[in-house]
């Protein structure tokens, strides 16, 4: 059974190759010079074969690849179907739904420029995300532990929560010395909101008994916050950070309206104005992949910190 599963992605690849090779293209789509989708399938096929071999050599119980196989198979099947309805039969409006070949050709041919875009965005995103998480955790802890602080901060959280990032732009332009700082602020703010809510909520949900135990053991207020409050609220904090990670990418699009010279959000906005949707999708794919990598990294960090958690949150 597991053995069979491993072969599914390869099957799906072959099917996709067959469809792309033998069905005629719709004349509505501008053809690309190189058949990038075929190349992509070829590379995937090779990767899959290597993995099947590795899984079989391993001889241990956890066949990693077999586990992920159905997912890859369906993913490629979906690409295949999309290829059919776009490049092959043009069932969807051609301008909005370019062929996979076109999207990949953008990624490959524009790769140098896209790389600089990704690099600028990464700087922005990293700075904003880091500041937002740190500020959010600190505010969350303060709000969670201190009634006075929570009295003053809660209305702020409620007022800022629903504000669209674009609403901040005039203030940001006035307050911040550079537009880079302004963009960073916008991203940080969007991350700050969920991180604060979740951290504060997590702390207020900690059974009081843990603090009581700590205090009878001689822990001062400060030590209790550090060694009881924070570890106990950690799972919640991570949920807030995950939420914030998603939102930071969304906000990137707005943050890059603030006089940046390049960046992936800026690229997408620009290409969208020109109705160059192949480029827009290329940008979105890059965003999705970066987000995936960021989430994987966060998972690693979380799994290391939360070893004590048995039924760990997984999404």
């Amino acid at each position: 059974m597991k053995r069979l599963k491993s072969w599914l992605p390869l099957l799906s690849v072959l099917l996709a190759v067959g469809v792309d090779l033998w069905l005629p293209d719709s004349p509505l789509h501008t053809p690309t010079k190189t058949k990038y989708f075929l190349w992509f399938l070829l590379i995937l096929g090779i990767i899959f074969i290597i993995n099947i071999i590795r899984d079989n050599l391993r001889k241990t119980k956890d066949k990693n690849f077999a586990k992920q196989a159905p997912f890859y198979a369906v993913l490629i099947l979906l690409l295949n179907i999309f290829n059919l309805v776009s490049k092959k039969y043009a069932l969807l409006p051609v301008i909005f739904f370019p062929s996979i070949d076109r999207v990949f050709s953008v990624i490959v041919e524009d790769s140098a420029f896209l790389a600089t875009c990704v690099f600028s965005s990464a700087k922005l995103l990293f700075a904003g995300f880091a500041i937002g998480v740190i500020a959010g955790v600190i505010t969350g802890i303060a709000v969670g532990f201190n009634k006075v602080i929570s009295y003053w901060i809660n209305p702020l959280v409620r007022a800022i929560g629903p504000m669209p990032p674009t609403a901040w732009i005039p203030i940001v332009l006035v307050v911040f010395p550079t537009t880079f700082a302004g963009s960073v602020f916008l991203i940080a703010l969007s991350v700050w909101f969920p991180t604060t809510i979740m951290t504060a909520g997590g702390i207020q949900n900690i059974p009081n008994a843990y603090f009581e135990v700590a205090s009878t053991l001689g822990a001062g207020r400060y030590y209790q916050i550090l060694k009881v409050g924070i570890p106990a609220a950690m799972p919640q904090m991570f949920l807030g950070i995950f939420n914030g990670a998603g939102i930071s990418f969304v906000t990137l699009m707005t943050a890059e309206l603030l006089g940046v010279k390049n960046g992936i959000g800026w690229y997408i906005n620009w290409q969208k104005d020109m109705m160059a949707y192949a480029n827009v999708y290329a940008g979105l794919i890059i965003i999705a992949v970066s987000f995936y990598l960021l989430v994987m990294l966060l998972f690693k960090v979380r799994d290391r910190i939360l070893v004590w958690q048995k039924g760990v949150i997984k999404w």
Partner: protein, 317 residues
């Protein structure tokens, strides 16, 4: 304000129940569309319209997906999307003017030449203001191509450009009305270049009316009626700029002050022309190619032919 009285409706519409969905964005120079509704030019043609206010940056998406049938936009904005397959046809040019290059009035930048090495804020990287700015710069010998870029263009959202200028994040603005005029007025900015005033731009068509390919296929007569009504409205505006500005503000098509708007409107020339728009298209497209904003491989003549629709019964005066 949708017109309901069907006066001369019987003309020759094959489908009495057809309602044309027209997208508009609420900018000042869109006046022909507003006036065609308010002054009954659509009704005169026997056309029922449903005006749809579009948010920034969604005009092309809407018409491509059939949410709207016809629209109104800057010609320079349309050329790249058309080369990317935007399924619309231009039908007539409506007016000239409306792009400006603005600098602070502190006198450090006095001429176009002074812009060399400076940062110019634009609302988007492919709309008419940047194209106009690049054309002007190129004409003054400042490099604006990918390989020889002697200025820096940075994007800010339209309405925040003046603030960015004031805070020194940029040294100049290239933008169109109404933001350009409001900013110039409120901050007393100097106008370095104005497509409504300076030759040769003042004779080139800025805004054009267009219809979707779908409309042309299904209701060609409605497309012609739309075009004619827009032309009539355009001529009427040229004669009545003050009344136009007042109607626009009173009926909430545009914000602001009627008197000031009228002053701006008067700088545009509302002389509709099919032929001149057709001719402008190649000029603008060629310049776009020269300044590296349109792919060199695009066959401009083919694009031009493919992008226009002439109606037998729509003629320049």
């Amino acid at each position: 304000g949708q017109q309901s009285k069907d006066t001369a409706a019987e003309n020759n519409t094959n489908d009495d129940n057809f309602v044309l969905k027209v997208g508009y964005s609420g900018s000042l120079c869109e006046a022909p569309l507003h006036m065609a509704i308010e002054k009954g030019f659509f009704a005169e043609e026997g056309l029922k319209v449903d005006p749809i206010k579009l948010a920034p940056g969604t005009a092309f998406e809407s018409i491509s997906s059939g949410q709207t049938d016809a629209g109104f936009n800057l010609m320079a904005n349309l050329i790249q999307p058309l080369s990317n397959g935007l399924p619309v046809k231009l039908t007539v040019g409506l007016h000239t003017g409306c792009d400006k290059v603005l600098v602070p009035n502190n006198g450090k930048i006095k001429s176009i030449e002074d812009l060399k090495g400076k940062r110019i804020g634009v609302p988007s990287l492919n709309s008419s203001p940047i194209i106009f700015a690049k054309r002007v710069l190129a004409a003054h010998g400042i490099g604006v191509t990918e390989k020889n870029m002697e200025v820096e263009f940075v994007v800010f959202s339209d309405s925040e450009l003046p603030l960015a200028l004031e805070k020194g994040a940029i040294d100049a603005i290239a933008d169109n009305d109404p933001v350009a005029s409001i900013a110039a007025d409120k901050y007393g900015l100097n106008i370095l270049a104005d497509s409504a005033m300076d030759a040769p731009y003042k004779d080139q068509y800025c805004c054009v009316a267009y219809v979707s390919n779908k409309l042309l296929a299904e209701h060609p007569e409605a497309a012609a009626q739309y075009t004619r009504a827009m032309m009539k409205a355009s001529r009427w505006i040229q004669a009545h700029p003050d009344e136009t500005a007042k109607l626009q503000v009173d009926n909430k098509y545009v914000a602001g002050d009627a008197e000031k708007n009228a002053k701006i409107l008067k700088t545009f020339k509302y002389i509709p022309s099919v032929q001149k728009a057709y001719d402008s298209f190649t000029t603008v497209a060629k310049e776009l190619q020269d300044i590296g904003m349109l792919d060199k491989s695009v066959d401009i003549n083919a694009l031009q032919k493919n992008s226009f629709k002439f109606f037998d019964d729509v003629k320049d005066e």
